[in-house]
Symmetry: C2
């Protein structure tokens, strides 16, 4: 069990190192040697988890999508806004999010399928918007798939612009401006009036989520420790 934990941790360290190299260098210029150096692991450890640079990039792109989960809210559209703001906030510092964003944005001189990442995000947004529409939060005129693709495409551009101009420092604010311009055409008025579009929300939610993850990890460790103690008693 402890060995498995260590393997999971090592995998994560390698993934974060790879993501930060992709973020700085782009896919083409990234080298396994630099990933090894940043991760501080051996070649053997890396190749145990990932067969190639391409596998590393695909893993970064996958990790990226799985990473956004926000607290349930009374209004589904608020969860949608929250997911966007948490992602925008994490793009400032989370190596996985930053690396994945760059990989997704770069045009296909490499063999990575950039469509995958865009389609996964579209599915994610589409799921939230469909639920919101079923609850009557979204205007009848909205074609959910079109609106979902619009959000994903526009977000990619906004993060690119924010990266170029301020290294993502103003991305949460840009996202608020985007929501202010688009949500009046998406939400029914009574819901629109209740949405919280505060650009600081991403930071607060992220802190709360990190706290929760930590608490859960501690609870699990506690459980494991007592399980181990049980075993020791027998």
């Amino acid at each position: 069990m402890a060995q498995q934990d260590r393997a999971i941790r090592t995998r994560r360290v390698i993934l974060e190192a790879a993501a930060s190299v992709f973020d700085d260098q782009g896919y083409d210029r990234a080298t396994i040697a630099e990933v090894l150096e940043r991760a501080g692991v051996t070649k053997g450890a890396l190749y145990f988890h990932f067969a190639s640079k391409e596998q590393l990039a695909l893993a970064v792109l996958e990790e990226h999508v799985v990473d956004i989960a926000v607290e349930p809210q009374k209004i589904k559209l608020q969860e949608f806004v929250d997911a966007g703001q948490v992602l925008a906030f994490r793009l400032r510092s989370d190596p996985i999010q930053r690396g994945a964003a760059r990989l997704a944005v770069e045009q296909g001189s490499n063999r990575l399928d950039r469509k995958r990442s865009m389609l996964s995000w579209t599915r994610f947004v589409e799921g939230l918007l469909t639920e919101a529409k079923e609850r009557g939060e979204v205007l009848e005129s909205i074609v959910v798939h079109e609106t979902a693709e619009l959000f994903v495409g526009a977000f990619a551009g906004l993060q690119m612009m924010s990266h170029a101009l301020t290294n993502q420092a103003d991305l949460c604010y840009r996202l608020t401006v985007f929501f202010e311009h688009t949500l009046p055409s998406v939400a029914v008025p009574a819901i629109l009036a209740k949405l919280n579009l505060d650009p600081e929300r991403g930071a607060k939610l992220d802190a709360a989520l990190q706290g929760k993850v930590l608490a859960e990890a501690e609870a699990e460790t506690g459980a494991d420790a007592s399980a181990d103690a049980d075993v020791a008693l027998h």
Copy 2:
């Protein structure tokens, strides 16, 4: 004069070849050798106009911004929509637009200043929106600079997504969806009702503009010919 014309034409041929290489390969992988091959010019001719790959890229980025000029309209916001739709249409086939888009989107592993292109576009959009606001077409609550940056950033992302999914075939349609979602938050209602957001508009306007450029070129050639004739008479 004829020699100068030829130089201008050669410069344009090289620029288009370079843009198409940047579009296909990205900046890092692009080589002068491939530009020479596609342009069908000598090394000497290329270096007469451009000192380096970087100079070529900067020239492509500059050409790109200068290229969009639409017919004046009664409603200034319509000119704004039209400029967007013409650009979206040209991104399907115009090598300069495609090459410039890729150069602007790629993250700075090269020394190109990607900010320049974004800031030029922002100034362009800001100019149109400021005029529209002065005429009372834009809601008082709009902060023109924020809205301009939103349009430029979101457009970059939409063209990236359209490129990845359909090689730009659906970009005009995506832009219409974007306008439908945002213009109700930008335009005053009476103006909004009069805007033509037809995704086919870009193709029609481009054809009209190309026709106009051709007609002007022919008129100029005619004028030159008679000027030459005048000279010959003396």
